[in-house]
């Protein structure tokens, strides 16, 4: 059998093909490795991210026969595997946030009056966010960061972590509240939703 890749191949197509022709899985790697690495690096730093990202694809490859091909996009599946691996390094992640919380941001709010009036400079509050992330429980933090840093939707996060959608929703709500509290914007933003 000859398998040819087309632009239209979804992740599900590639994984399905990889069941018969394992080398097709490298296309999944090529599509998503950098995103998985970037996500892991934000949570754990570059050294552990290298381990986590590599292991994510080895595990995914081993489990390719169990992939639910009704999900065309493999990102939730891959980020779910990565999240489980990251959870094993909870202490390293905590230390990372502690370090970031102590490190002053390189850039603070500039003197642009409009900018000051209209928005907070996120970089200036990195330390506060890092301190708040450290305080979150790992399951709650995972939901928040899969949305914020992996770019998954709430429904995709539920799929990734294999939790009910309602659980993902409540964890995200709690996490966002904590972030607002850390930023001192809780009162203003509560009314925005």
């Amino acid at each position: 059998m000859t398998l040819t890749r087309t632009q239209a191949d979804t992740d599900a197509d590639l994984i399905e093909q990889a069941k018969r022709a394992p080398e097709r899985f490298t296309a999944v790697f090529d599509r998503h490795y950098r995103h998985i690495y970037a996500y892991a690096a934000r949570r754990l730093g570059p050294d552990l991210a290298e381990d986590v990202a590599s292991e994510t694809f080895l595990i995914a490859f081993d489990r390719r026969n169990r992939y639910d091909r009704s999900h065309a996009d493999a990102r939730p599946w891959l980020f779910g595997i990565a999240s489980n691996l990251i959870a094993r390094h909870a202490r390293a992640e905590t230390r990372r946030y502690q370090a970031l919380a102590r490190t002053p941001a390189a850039n603070v709010v500039d003197g642009d009056a409009d900018a000051i009036a209209g928005r907070l400079d996120a970089r200036a509050v990195r330390g506060r966010l890092a301190a708040a992330l450290e305080e979150l429980s790992e399951p709650v933090r995972s939901v928040l960061l899969l949305v914020a840093w992996a770019g998954l939707s709430q429904a995709e996060v539920a799929t990734a972590l294999r939790i009910p959608p309602g659980t993902a929703r409540s964890r995200l709500h709690k996490a966002r509240q904590e972030m607002r509290r850390a930023l001192g914007t809780a009162d203003r933003l509560e009314g925005d939703e």
């Binding site: 490298t26 790697f29 490795y33 690495y37 970037a38 590599s54 960061l145 930023l183």
Partner: protein, 319 residues
């Protein structure tokens, strides 16, 4: 108003990009995983390679140690590993192989001896006698030093028993099973190891992880075995195994009977082989005729530290 999700995205800077080396390593590991594996390589039956020694008629002698250091003593001389941050089992084994290859070694003469010295964590004898198959019980354990000598040509064995050296010569009614040195020393590549495991001598079934602890293997052979194990599909990594003497260790091995992890232990920094252990990784009940054997996740059944594996000139020599 910028919301907290956007702030999280912006505050921690742009996405980090992996190094080319990291990406290449990860892709190589994945491609390596895709290689077809030969069936039937992972035998789980242990070999009682030296167990028959118990039937031997023993003679007790005392041998004076010459006290000189043999050039084959384990010594890691290099410190740049192929994978600084191994990401998977195969990479860990490759690091271990790389380290093993750097041991100093001189091929032994047939009349020299393999000296293995281990420290086993065991339950105290009174408890062990009543619970021979039980897990190690915290607070009831003791360390036992085991010293054994096996002549390279397989004709003589020796052991310290009750503080005395007992030496046994093969002959007459005294015999035991031992792998031939010529066969072992020929296992210099993973392919040769695979062939040997797939076509065992009729007298033996081979458990490589047991062999590693019972024979003083040439560096090339040990490395080939590690590389062979790296290719096995059921190998698993325990990055946080704790060694018998408190040193952090990496555990690499396979799961037996669905709940027992049989692991070789490697030094976390140098990847030198330092021991072995068997630990339960899940709760399990084994139903027996007279009683059930209950295992709890985390129970340790065997823990051995390899303190010396060298070639010496005669029984009793320890360096």
């Amino acid at each position: 108003m910028m919301d907290e999700i956007t702030m999280l995205r912006e505050a921690f800077g742009p996405d980090a990009a992996p190094s080319v080396t990291a990406e290449t390593r990860a892709r190589t590991a994945l491609v390596e995983r895709m290689r077809p594996r030969r069936p039937g390589r992972h035998r789980k039956t242990a070999v009682a390679l030296a167990a028959a020694a118990a039937i031997a008629v023993t003679a007790t002698v005392t041998v004076r140690s010459l006290g000189h250091e043999h050039p084959s003593a384990q010594r890691v001389t290099a410190n740049v590993l192929p994978f600084a941050h191994p990401a998977n089992v195969a990479q860990y084994f490759e690091n271990a192989a790389w380290t093993a290859e750097r041991r100093r070694w001189v091929d032994p003469r047939p009349e020299q001896f393999m000296y293995t010295e281990t420290v086993e964590l065991r339950n105290q004898r009174s408890y062990e006698n009543n619970n021979p198959n039980g897990a190690l019980v915290p607070g009831k354990t003791e360390n036992r030093r085991v010293q054994q000598w096996n002549r390279v040509d397989g004709q003589v064995q020796a052991e310290i028993r009750g503080g005395k050296l007992e030496v046994v010569q093969r002959g007459g009614n005294v015999t035991w099973d031992r792998l031939k040195w010529a066969d072992i020393s020929a296992l210099t590549t993973p392919e040769k190891v695979a062939n040997w495991v797939d076509h065992p001598d009729a007298a033996f079934s081979v458990e490589l992880t047991a062999m590693i602890g019972q024979y003083v293997l040439p560096p090339k052979v040990q490395a080939a075995i590690f590389r062979y194990l790296a290719q096995q599909p059921d190998m698993r990594l325990n990055p946080d195994a704790v060694n018998i003497d408190g040193r952090p260790a990496i555990g690499l091995g396979r799961v037996l009977e669905g709940y027992l992890a049989q692991e070789l232990l490697f030094d976390q920094r140098t990847y030198a082989l330092i021991g072995e252990r068997v630990v339960a990784i899940a709760d399990h009940v084994t139903h027996g005729d007279d009683a059930d054997l209950v295992s709890h996740k985390g129970d340790v059944y065997r823990q051995v530290l390899y303190t010396k594996m060298i070639i010496v000139d005669r029984p009793g020599d320890t360096q």
